[in-house]
Amino acid sequence: MTTTRFIRSAGLAAVTATLAFVSAAPAMGGTLRYAEDRAPAIVHPLFTTSMSEARLNELLFLSLFADDRELRASPQLAGSFQLAPDQLSMTVSLRPATWHDGKPVSADDVVFTIEAMKDPRTASTEAGRVAWITGAEAVDPSTVRLTFANPEYAPQDKLYFKILPAHRFDGTTVKRTDAYRTQPTGSGPWSLTSFNDDASITLSRTESSPAAIDEVVMREVADKNYQAKLLIYESLEALVRVLPRDLATLQNDRKVELYPYQTNSWWYLGFNHDRNVSGDEAVRRAVAHMVDVDQLLAPIGTGDVVTGPFVPSSPFYDHDVPRVKPDPDKAAQILTEAGYTFSGRWLTPTGEQLTLKVATASNLETAQDVLINLQSQLQTRGITVEPEFLTAGEWKQRVWHDHDFDLVLSQWSFDRNEDIYEQFHSDGARNFIGYGNPEVDRMLDEARTSTDPQAKKALLRQVHAAIAADQPMVFLWTLDSYAALSTKVKRVVVHPFYFFTWAADWSL
């Protein structure tokens, strides 16, 4: 048979052959067990600060709008909407939906959620997501009218925050410690069944849910290496983030598939600007020259060192900003010029030993390893480091609420918009390090209102350079990031930030 004839005959068989690979209808039932490095401290969309909480929210709650598969705003609790000609208001009709306790989702719930997020006494960590909304009014039980501070071209693109049931709260002043945090009522595909003794959380499919999977179990597994083993041995079906060092192992397992996930993420060492020592510019600059970032990164695996608040693949990354290189002599010069003295250890201008308390997450193997290495590096240079390993609850209280730290070692993850306003604007809800620069504020404000992509790109590249020059943080690295799922899980499409947005379509 000639090649041509062979290909033709293969083509004739194509219809039959193709059918062999048409995916079957989704199976119903089963339990999806996934691992988080650390269990969420609370389940409460008003106070969500971590990705593990955000991922859980995605299973339990709905928003007015959410991303479709092509990442366009698609109605979720909203049924339809109409934008006023002046673009200063919109009317949203809700589709019929029920809370997990059986009560209907109403316009009052939408109004309540927005007002609770905006209530300064609530101090929601998500307040920035509704700052642009000036009013919310229930027109009737299934219609809500929103008004805006400025004309909005596509307000649905911002209505992604989770809606809460008004009937579960006494008013718009919501406390983080309310019982709701452990007994949440949502309207998502799964409801929370139990917090378990082993720090796992069990969710069950609701009666009206479109989800194919019956049960979802989140397991806290701090040890990344152990996570990989659990997946290989089929004690888990999903890992949300795999360390680069584990990729080769997992890709060589025929029953595991890797998915790119959450690549806009970077590690940092943040200085508390409201404290005398860590807020001292000389200390910040000196520490930056004392830290050998490559050496800290090596045990974790391959990654890109970053010079500012964006990852190198970002359109906002200024590639002309140089890395701060390890230079102990330069560090010593900076401290000396600022009045610090060296006598075996560095002493502050008031004669006290230069000591920095560095907080990081407890029960998080990789962060702890980095902190211990950091401690070694700085102590060698004469700065005393006192590591503090905080539980999730302690972290929320001390870092987010009380700002009780000298330095924090942590990671930020951003969705595809890479909006750093909340971290670096002096009004930012996530700016717990207390950084402020009026010029950076101005550029961040301007970038938010720009309608010209090139202008926004240019502005944020300037922001990158300005923040790098200020050194409010030692910017560390970004890692190639993947999720790993068992091949038993079918129809998987992972949302690049929230992960579970389309989990209702998955099956086992």
């Binding site: 041509t4 092509e70 690549t263 930020w412 595809r416 918009n417 202008a455 129809r491």
Partner: protein, 499 residues
């Protein structure tokens, strides 16, 4: 001594070299069967070791991996055994040049020994170094063809991005009148008319008469191709570079593609526009370079002629997605590269459009078949051939090339979701850079699939590894970046701590 349980791809090959299992610790976790660990021996040294920069398995390059640690040493008991599926069916898969190398390692040795640096570079997808070090024109044409294909992939990506960027920008706030945006949109629509809903002439009509880009309007209204534009302006100078590139002198345009075509002062910043047509001309140029090397006639289809001239011997197929003769008399450029050949072993000629799960299943099926073929080859091949097969992991290399080719086919068939699924499976994430295990086209096609699936920001992640290998990609990165920024203008971004 006990062999490790079934592994796939590189690990399986390394295992075949004989990992010695000995206990050096006990892993005690409540959810995992109790197994002692094992360690691997150095890989067998083969003739390739003297020819190529040593290439070992990803496992050995990334340190002791879990696969080895889980290897049972004293023989697994039922309770200790990880879940094992039924053994894969015995299948017969013909692997063309892979088999030739395995069975006739002397042919491979003779070939690569003559141009060691060049073939090593081709293996590493380093086409510039390859063509500089392959002494035979016909061999050098392999690198030329690879460059032509890569630039063609970049041209498609550029078209996908510009066809979304300019209309959406117009809709969102209007293209800035005091800029060259419309002129650049005109160029973009001119060089990729099939990708743009709005023709170049329509964009050109809206260029203000006092803008430098107005020369494009005048040229297009005279029905002349833009390539004939002459003069001293930036567009005319650029078209001169395009003409040179299309005739095979690509160097100047490759340099220019990394730099803005137009830089102009806007309100408080400098606006930069990159050439959206650079890679289309570079692709055509490299086809001509290949044709010249092969002393082939360019008409009527340069890509077909080049491949026909290439032949089907080992130098023409080594490291390629086509295993032997690809049926190059079939119509269509992708068929020339073997894209219409059925999936090896299964007879599947086409995957259902848009069915991601089916695509993943097809790849799993392919992997099972390739496992069987690899085992058979290792059993039958002489030791030297088996060594080359293992050390260069040629089955895996062919798998990647095949999946990339199939993904390209799905993109050209307007099926980016299946293309993306195939590319995700083709990608070796343990090697983030372009190299033997990840071709630059893999990343570029992935970026195109991401753009066409609405995941423009992720496309930028895909392109980052390419820039280190091909500087001219900077212009495309900026174009895709503009689109990503535009698509996020009305959003209030979310961020969280990763812990």
């Amino acid at each position: 001594m006990t062999r490790c349980p079934r592994r796939k791809s590189r690990t399986a090959l390394v295992a075949s070299s004989g990992p010695a299992c000995q206990s050096f610790g006990t892993l005690t976790y409540p959810d995992i069967p109790h197994v002692p660990a094992c360690q691997d021996e150095p890989l067998a040294t083969t003739i390739i070791g003297s020819v190529f920069t040593p290439v070992t398995s990803s496992v050995s390059r990334t340190g002791p991996a879990l696969g080895w640690l889980l290897c049972a040493c004293t023989g697994p008991t039922p309770a200790d055994t990880p879940p094992v599926e039924a053994p894969p069916p015995q299948v017969t898969v013909s692997l063309g040049w892979v088999e030739e190398v395995a069975h006739h390692p002397e042919r491979f040795g003779e070939l690569v020994e003559a141009d060691r640096t060049g073939w090593t570079a081709l293996h590493a997808h380093d086409y510039g170094v390859a063509r500089a070090n392959l002494s035979t024109p016909a061999h050098r044409a392999r690198a030329d063809l690879a460059l032509a294909t890569l630039h063609d992939d970049l041209a498609h990506l550029s078209a996908a991005a510009t066809s979304r960027l300019f209309p959406a920008w117009e809709d969102r706030g209007g293209l800035p009148d005091d800029s060259s945006a419309r002129a650049i949109a005109t160029l973009a629509a001119w060089c990729a008319p099939q990708a743009h809903d709005r023709p170049a002439e329509a964009w050109a009509r809206d260029i203000p008469g006092d803008r430098p880009g107005h020369v494009l309007t005048e040229t297009l209204s005279s029905t002349r191709p833009l390539l004939e534009l002459t003069g001293d302006g930036p567009y005319a100078k650029r078209m001169a570079l395009h003409r040179r590139a299309r005739s095979g002198d690509t160097e100047a345009l490759e340099v220019a593609a990394a730099l803005p075509l137009i830089s102009e002062q806007a309100h408080g910043f400098t606006r930069h526009f990159y050439d959206p047509c650079a890679h289309a001309s570079l692709a055509e140029g490299w086809w001509h370079v290949a044709l010249r090397a092969l002393e082939a006639d360019a008409d009527p289809l340069p890509d077909r002629r080049a491949l026909e001239a290439l032949g089907s011997s080992l130098p023409a197929t080594l490291f390629s997605p086509w295993l032997s003769d690809t049926g190059r008399t079939e119509a269509g450029p992708l068929a020339l590269f073997g894209a219409d050949a059925p999936w090896p072993g299964s007879g599947v000629a086409a995957l259902p459009a848009g069915d991601v799960e089916a695509a993943r299943e097809a790849v799993r099926d392919l992997d099972e078949r390739l496992d069987g073929a690899r085992r058979a080859l290792l059993a039958d091949a002489p030791p030297e051939g088996a060594g080359v097969l293992s050390d260069l992991d040629l089955v895996l290399r062919w798998r990647q090339e095949w999946l990339v080719l199939q993904a390209r086919k799905h993109l050209r068939d307007d099926d980016p979701t299946v293309a993306l699924a195939l590319l995700e499976r083709a990608h070796d994430p343990s090697h983030p850079e372009v190299g033997p295990w990840n071709s630059p086209s893999l990343f570029v096609l992935r970026a195109e699939a991401e753009v066409r699936s609405g995941r423009t920001r992720q496309a930028l992640d895909a392109l980052r590894p390419v820039e280190g290998r091909l500087g001219s990609v900077r212009g495309v990165i900026e174009i895709v970046g503009d689109l990503a920024v535009l698509q996020g203008l009305d959003r209030r971004g979310d961020s969280k701590e990763s812990q």
